[in-house]
């Protein structure tokens, strides 16, 4: 009974609303659309279980670029937990800190995340995972060169933002902050719904090297290609960030 998303109705038109909450940044809706769970923020589509491939690709793109044997990972944006799950699947990952702005998103993830949420909970008990409510920027600010991988899976990427406050994460300052929070040889990875040449240039100006990876999610029978921007910090002790 799903309606076609190509209609002129908003993103809420197609599915059963499971919960509607007033979040920190406006209205949050959890809904079920066929086999998929979706989170809508302020009427804009935020994340769906249909985005599993690209959320996992965020980690899959960054981890092989980092050579260290024991990795400390920071993920901005828990969403539905795929990037976290992908990080936990990597044996080299020592510890993952996930910062999520919306308490309801964390609650939904724990309630509906199934085996993923179970694996994360086991990681929490073992001290390998910490999920904290707050602004990922705070984790970046307070940790100079403390992470091997920083993954930003916040909002809808660099240029299509649901939350205004997220803009500065993708600003030149934000990019520098990500680089500064990396250990030598570390990687900062940014989920992006598209290729943005201007963003790419700004990354290249701050990082020593930028590598792109793509991932495809199939949503409502249609393939969407996303871009993972991986910014690499050189192994030298220099700091131009």
């Amino acid at each position: 009974m799903r309606e076609c998303a190509a209609g002129n109705k908003g993103p809420e038109s197609a599915a059963d609303v499971l919960e509607r909450r007033e979040g920190r940044c406006g209205e949050l809706v959890l809904r079920r659309s066929g086999e998929h769970l979706e989170v809508i923020a302020n009427g804009a589509f935020l994340i769906s279980t249909a985005n599993e491939a690209s959320s996992r690709a965020l980690m899959a793109a960054a981890l092989p670029q980092v050579g260290a044997a024991a990795l400390d990972v920071l993920i901005g944006g828990l969403g539905l937990g795929y990037a976290l799950d992908e990080a936990l699947a990597c044996e080299r990952v020592r510890r993952v800190t996930v910062v999520e702005l919306e308490p309801d998103v964390e609650r939904w993830y724990r309630a509906h995340g199934g085996e993923r949420a179970g694996r994360a909970a086991a990681g929490e008990r073992a001290g390998r995972v910490a999920i904290v409510i707050g602004d990922v920027r705070d984790a970046l600010i307070s940790s100079a060169a403390g992470f091997d991988v920083v993954a930003l899976d916040t909002d809808n990427g660099p240029e299509w933002l649901v939350r205004d406050g997220n803009a500065r994460l993708y600003s030149d300052d934000g990019i520098r902050l990500v680089r500064r929070s990396l250990r030598p040889g570390g990687a900062g990875v940014f989920w992006s719904p598209d290729r943005y040449p201007a963003f790419e240039e700004r990354l290249a100006a701050v990082f020593d090297r930028v590598v792109l990876a793509s991932a495809r999610d199939v949503m409502e029978g249609k393939g969407h290609d996303y871009t993972m921007y991986v910014g690499l910090r050189g192994t030298g002790a220099d700091d131009r960030g």
């Binding site: 920071l74 800190t97 910062v99 910490a130 999920i131 904290v132 409510i133 707050g134 602004d135 990922v136 705070d138 984790a139 600010i141 307070s142 940790s143 100079a144 403390g146 992470f147 902050l177």
Partner: protein
């Protein structure tokens, strides 16, 4: 081998932490002399003094700026906290009026300088909530003091949690432990600040509903 030094001591009923900038008014002869000796960039030791006397742990400082030269050689200055030290020995001068007390000290660095990131995020969240309840409207951005010491010290430099607590933080050698102490203190004062904010709201609302 401990990193030892000897410097002039400045006992004060205030606690300074590394990275913090503190204004001082200098009017006693012995401290005029101390600051004359500091113009070339040396350090002195600022140490918390209570009724029981000097504490063992203090913070070394440098003269950051002479803000004002006043008559009679008095000074208004800004000093900046540099590094934690443990006082090993106090050396009194012959003339206590004219000259300052020196101390032999060893520097004591953190055994755990980086905090668990989730603690930093939680502490910043709580700290901003406290600032909001205190009526501070400007957003607090710790990166203004980027690289100038741990987050916990930047917080206690920005908000007065009382000198004894600040001294406790100065004496705590790990950033995670300091943030945990701060989280505990903030959780304790939060309900009081919330109550106060509600009362003020009620007063503004002409007492209605309260």
């Amino acid at each position: 081998m401990a990193d030892r030094t000897e410097f002039g001591l400045f006992p004060l009923a205030t606690v300074l932490v590394p990275g913090e900038v503190l204004p001082l008014h200098i009017f006693e002869e012995r401290y005029k002399r101390l600051f004359a000796d500091l113009v070339d960039g040396g350090e002195f030791g600022l140490i918390f003094v209570e009724e029981e006397g000097l504490r063992e742990i203090g913070c070394s400082a440098r003269l950051a700026e002479v803000v004002e030269h006043l008559e009679g050689g008095r000074l208004n200055v800004l000093v900046r906290g540099v590094r934690r030290f443990r006082l090993l020995e106090v050396r009194e001068p012959d003339d206590l009026e004219a000259d300052y007390v020196s101390g032999v000290a060893e520097y004591v660095d953190d055994d755990e300088p980086e905090a668990a990131p989730e603690l930093a995020v939680r502490a910043l969240e709580a700290f901003r909530a406290i600032l909001a309840l205190m009526g501070v409207e400007a957003p607090w951005e710790p990166e203004g003091a980027e690289g100038e010491g741990p987050l916990s010290y930047r917080m206690v430099a920005a908000v007065d949690f009382g000198a004894p607590f600040k001294q406790q933080l100065l004496e705590t050698l790990g950033e995670s432990r300091r943030l945990e102490l701060l989280l505990t203190v903030m959780a304790t004062i939060m309900p009081r600040l919330e109550l106060r904010a509600k009362r003020q709201e009620a007063i503004r609302g002409n007492g209605k509903g309260y």
